[in-house]
Amino acid sequence: MNTADSNAPSIVLVEDEQQIRRFVRTALEGEGCHVFEAETMQRGLIEAGTRKPDLLILDLGLPDGDGVSLIRDVRGWSSLPILVLSARSDERDKVEALDAGADDFLTKPFGVAELMARVRALLRRQRAAADASPQVSFGEVTLDLARRVVTRGGEPLHLTPIEYRLLTVLVASTGRVLTHRQLLAQVWGPGHTEHNHYLRVYMTGLRRKLEADPAQPKHLLTETGVGYRFNP
């Protein structure tokens, strides 16, 4: 913390592959971040606790344990953003990590550009949490949270109460991936977490109203098998 630029975000990187650590570190430092490396879960937990990082990047397959349990540990005392790296293609692992409290994920192999976009989004989110603006704009759409009004191209847009709630939940988690379970619990209530088809119907409806091409959405994105993501 005794670095020259105290504004530079600090990031803890927990990853056992040295080659991956190297290029991720290079990329992050290129963006002016401080990177603290850890090879094991044990080490990662200590780094995360002592460095007070702005972001935790975590590989799920660690030699000394499951990354998901590290996420649960960290979430016990901190709300810092967590980005998960996973080699597994099974969506269930990602859902588990996200439900445990991770904010976003990247499937290996990933490119540097992709990584940096996610990191920037999470860091921005961390800062923006302080000054939450009552107005959010994306594409032609403006959402006024204070007045509960949505307009598209200046024209007022009618949303049903559930559509509106779904949109606000997604917008409030900008840059994060929300799992189906999380969305269902927040919009419909904890008793409806198995009713995935509610989400499909309302997402389709919302896209028709908000997206220019609902089949190729720009803002309300699908993470197949995992959940949804709002991209302003």
Partner: protein
């Protein structure tokens, strides 16, 4: 050398003995404690012998021991481990029986089984205890048992003669003769009576009664002599066997084999006598029953009795056969010649004369005539066996069934008389005789032998009464007419008999023809069967038509456990398992669990037993079902046909597996060659590019960027290839569980387009999904792969700038989705093969990929229960201004009604 040869035992005999010894080594040993009468101390002796072994550390289990409340015996039993009995519920009574399964499961070295001749309660596995013991021996368990002389089957007639009481619980002689050791437990009659008086055998009142009836001194002496002689016979055998072993025998016994001819009556006594004689002669014996037309006509009970006698003979150790022929004597003699049997045993009933013997000599005489060189031995048998109490009732039943035949015959003759009356005077009397003879022929044809005889007599009487002057009396004016009557009666009887025989033989031929046809049809169906289901269907049809039975085919799994089939709910898998394990019949009418309503037939094929056919007769009460030789033969033939068909189907499967293995071998080869090309190319490029990057001077930044970009592209290409391979491997392993959820196709299309944005960059994409597309159940991740692969495929095989369209349509119960391009189209005739693994439109192509993309598409779509195909789009087929030529890949998914959403409350 030659001299040595002369004293050497016959090598065949030695081999047979070695085989027998090998079988003995695997089998358990049977030791019988043999006594002349109850109370001589057999059980005591058995327990004493067992105690000695227990002290020697042998694992002894008391299977069954009856102490009959005798104090000394109870004392001996103390301290020995006793197997708990099994409760069997029989008509409200609780019976306790030996638990053979528990005994086999415990697998002791020695089991004590009192009372060898005991009959088990109905519902036990075997009807007789000696069969339980056989199974124990077969399982390698030694057995000690006890038996009295009156229970030996071949002696039971003699004992009945001595004591006046018939013993029903008998043991076949072979069980006794095959025992490894027989210990005679002897007690002089005087001592036995003393023990009886002291109350050591029965409690006092019982003892009184016993002494008055069974335990008379005369009885006891006779029984003791029988027991001693029977034991001596055995010892004699043992000595002979020993001699053969030691090669001291100078004289080899000649083969004095016997043939027992079982007729309609007295068969069982004949068989027992033959068994005794054969045992005394030490000769093998055969028993045959000839099914003559007369026999087939006989009441069911008579036939059944002959067949029972045949089965008894089999139990007593005879080789048995049922022959078919017109002349019983001729058939029996032919059999004897064929099998080199020197002595014919024939029963002689007390009724030596019958009307039939007038024109047909008896069996004995015919046999004597035809078998000049054979000895024919007559055995006196009773005219009617005691085991046939309901023969009279059967006859009455037959009469009740047939009396209408006689009534119709009488009516027919009366009709002829009425019709002929107006003709009297116009036609000759001889022609009227002809009319009556016609009536005889008709009734013989229609109703058979008995009514034909009646018709003959009635015709003569009616002719006399109505037509011969003086009319309407039985008196005759002209003596000549007696000649007419006699000839008319004789002719009537003869043609009646001949016609009836013709009719019978025609019926028999028909039945035979029907059986042959059923077998032929079954064989044809089975030979065409390629699957187990087809074999099963043919087998069930065979049982239905040929045996009038409901059937179920029970097949074993890989561990040889019989599986309850789908419609086999009525079959008992435990019995089927037994039949399968022992490759034998079980259940109804057999020696194993005969009280079961079903018959279980093991299907023995040349290589091994293939399954079990369970049969339930349509008429449960039919006692003769499955017992007659024809049915037995039909069942045997049918079962072996089914078994062979099952075996063939099995080997078809094996051959197919081998083919599949070869195919996968071929696939692996093509995979390896594809991989070595497609994986090595990008890797070579990567290495080369990285080297170039390292060697390029640092200042050429533009070149660095270019090289890095190439490295990235090549790496991504390799990654895509690896992904495809991993996906295919996962799908092929069958371990992919579909996560079906209600999904929106639009969403999957969006995700697929996004994931393949790079590959699709140079193409114009058009999404034409209807707005009202319903939700469909599928695995979203896999469906995204399907769409992405189809899109990527379209992009790869069409020139840059081509149009690609994604469309969908909700059909009833299906969702149809297509990806269409306006490229060059599919190579002709290869549309279907495109979906095979490692198949590409052109074999050698610069376009990267191993041809897995479409195979993955097909695997996923088919896992969803859908289908996929490719077609060329003809020119001008699209009226909506879309692509008018090119390729179209279509897949369909099954679709159900989507769940309803709850109504949203108004804002």
């Amino acid at each position: 050398m030659f001299q040595e040869n002369a004293t050497r035992p016959d090598p065949d005999a030695l081999l047979a003995r070695l085989d027998a010894e090998a079988a003995q080594a695997r089998r358990g040993r049977l030791k019988i404690f043999f006594g002349a009468s109850p109370g001589v101390g057999k059980t005591f002796a058995m327990l004493a012998a067992a105690r000695v072994l227990v002290e020697g550390g042998l694992d002894v289990l008391v299977g069954v021991v009856e102490t009959h409340g005798r104090g000394e015996t109870e004392a001996m039993l103390r301290g020995l481990p006793v197997l708990p009995r099994r409760d069997i519920d029989y008509r409200g009574h609780r019976l306790q029986e030996f638990d053979i399964d528990a005994a086999l499961a415990r697998a002791p070295a020695l089991v004590l089984m009192d009372e060898l001749a005991h009959s088990n309660a109905p519902g036990s596995r075997h009807p007789k205890r000696w069969q339980d013991i056989e199974e124990l021996l077969a399982a390698g368990v030694d057995v000690f048992t006890t038996v009295n002389v009156q229970h030996i089957e071949s002696l039971s007639d003699i004992v009945a003669g001595i004591t006046g009481a018939r013993v029903w619980e008998t043991v076949p002689d072979h069980v006794f003769d095959d025992a490894d050791e027989v210990v005679l437990v002897d007690l002089p009659p005087a001592e036995l009576l003393q023990r009886l008086r002291e109350g050591k055998v029965y409690i006092p009142q019982q003892a009184e009664r016993a002494m008055a009836s069974f335990f008379r001194k005369g009885n006891l002496l006779a029984l003791r002599e029988l027991a001693l002689r029977r034991t001596a016979d055995r010892v004699d055998d043992d000595v002979r066997a020993y001699r053969r072993e030691q090669s001291v025998a100078a004289v080899w016994p000649t083969q004095d084999a016997l043939l027992v001819c079982i007729g309609a009556q007295g068969g069982e006594k004949l068989v027992r006598s033959a068994a005794r004689l054969a045992a005394q002669l030490g000769a093998p014996w055969h028993a045959v029953h000839v099914e003559t037309p007369a026999m087939l006509r006989a009441p069911e009970d008579v036939r059944m009795q002959a067949l029972r006698a045949l089965r008894l003979a089999q139990e007593l150790g005879a080789a048995t056969a049922t022959l078919a022929g017109h002349d019983a004597a001729a058939a029996a003699v032919a059999y004897a010649r064929e099998h080199n049997l020197g002595k014919l045993l024939v029963g002689r009933s007390r009724v030596a004369w019958s009307p039939a013997s007038l024109w047909r000599p008896g069996f004995l005489r015919r046999a004597g005539q035809q078998a000049g060189d054979l000895d024919v031995i007559e055995i006196a048998v009773e005219e009617r066996d005691a085991t046939r109490p309901d023969a009279g009732r059967a006859w009455v039943a037959a009469w009740q069934e047939r009396w209408t035949h006689y009534a119709w015959t009488a009516a027919g003759v009366a009709l002829v008389a009425v019709l002929a009356t107006p003709l009297l005077g116009r036609i000759d009397l001889t022609n009227i005789v002809m009319l009556f003879l016609l009536a005889v022929v008709v009734s013989a044809l229609r109703f058979g032998r008995g009514p034909a005889v009646l018709a003959a007599f009635l015709s003569v009487a009616a002719f006399d009464f109505f037509f011969v002057p003086p009319r309407l009396t039985l008196a005759v004016s002209d003596v000549q007419y007696f000649v007419t009557f006699a000839v008319m009666l004789a002719v009537g009887l003869v043609i009646g008999q001949l016609t009836a025989r013709l009719r019978f033989e025609a019926a028999a031929a028909q039945a035979r023809e029907r059986r042959t046809r059923i077998l032929y049809e079954t064989a044809r169906e089975l030979s065409a069967a390629l699957t187990v289901q087809e074999v099963e269907a043919a087998g069930l049809r065979f049982a239905q038509q040929g045996l009038a039975a409901q059937a179920a085919l029970l097949l074993p799994d890989e561990d040889g456990r019989i599986q309850a089939g789908s419609d086999a709910s009525f079959a008992d898998t435990a019995i089927a398992q037994w039949a399968y394990d022992h490759a034998d019949m079980a259940g109804r009418g057999t020696g194993t669990l005969p009280s079961s309503p079903l018959l279980y037939v093991a299907l023995r094929a040349p290589m091994r037993t293939r399954g079990v056919l369970a049969l339930r007769p349509a008429d449960d009460a039919d006692r003769s079902w499955g017992v007659t030789p024809e049915q037995q033969r039909l069942l045997d033939t049918g079962a072996s046909l089914i078994a062979t068909a099952l075996e063939r189907v099995h080997y078809i499967a094996v051959a197919q597996d081998a083919l599949v293995n070869m195919e996968s071998e071929r696939l692996r080869n093509s995979l390896l060659s594809a991989l070595s090309h497609d994986l090595r190319t990008p890797l070579t490029a990567l290495v080369g590019l990285a080297d170039t990057l390292a060697l390029t001077p640092a200042r050429e930044a533009a070149l660095h960027g270019e090289l890095a970009h190439s490295i990235r592209d090549e790496a991504l290409r390799t990654s895509a290839l690896v992904n495809n391979l991993l996906d295919m491997a996962r799908l092929q392993s069958g371990k992919v569980a579909l996560r079906r959820e209600w999904q929106s196709l639009e969403e999957s299309v969006g995700a697929a387009l996004k994931s393949r944005a790079g590959a699709l960059a140079g193409h114009a994409i058009r999404v034409a999904l209807p707005d009202d597309l319903p939700l469909v159940e599928f695995d979203a991740v896999l469906m995204e792969r399907v769409l992405a692969n189809l899109l990527e495929n379209a992009a790869k095989y069409t020139p840059v700038g081509s149009r690609i369209e994604i469309g969908a349509q909700a059909l009833p119960e299906r969702l149809r989705v297509w990806v269409q391009d306006d490229g060059p189209g599919l190579p002709a005739g290869r549309a279907e093969r495109l979906f095979d693994k490692f198949t590409r439109g052109q074999e050698e192509s610069a376009i990267p990929g191993v041809g897995l993309g479409l195979a993955i598409v097909r695997a996923i779509v088919e896992a969803h229960g859908g289908r996929v195909w490719a077609e060329n789009v003809g020119t001008g087929s699209d009226s909506e201004g879309g692509a008018t030529h090119g390729a179209r890949f279509v897949f369909e998914l099954p679709r159900k009604e989507a769940p309803q959403l709850p109504e949203e409350p108004p804002p």
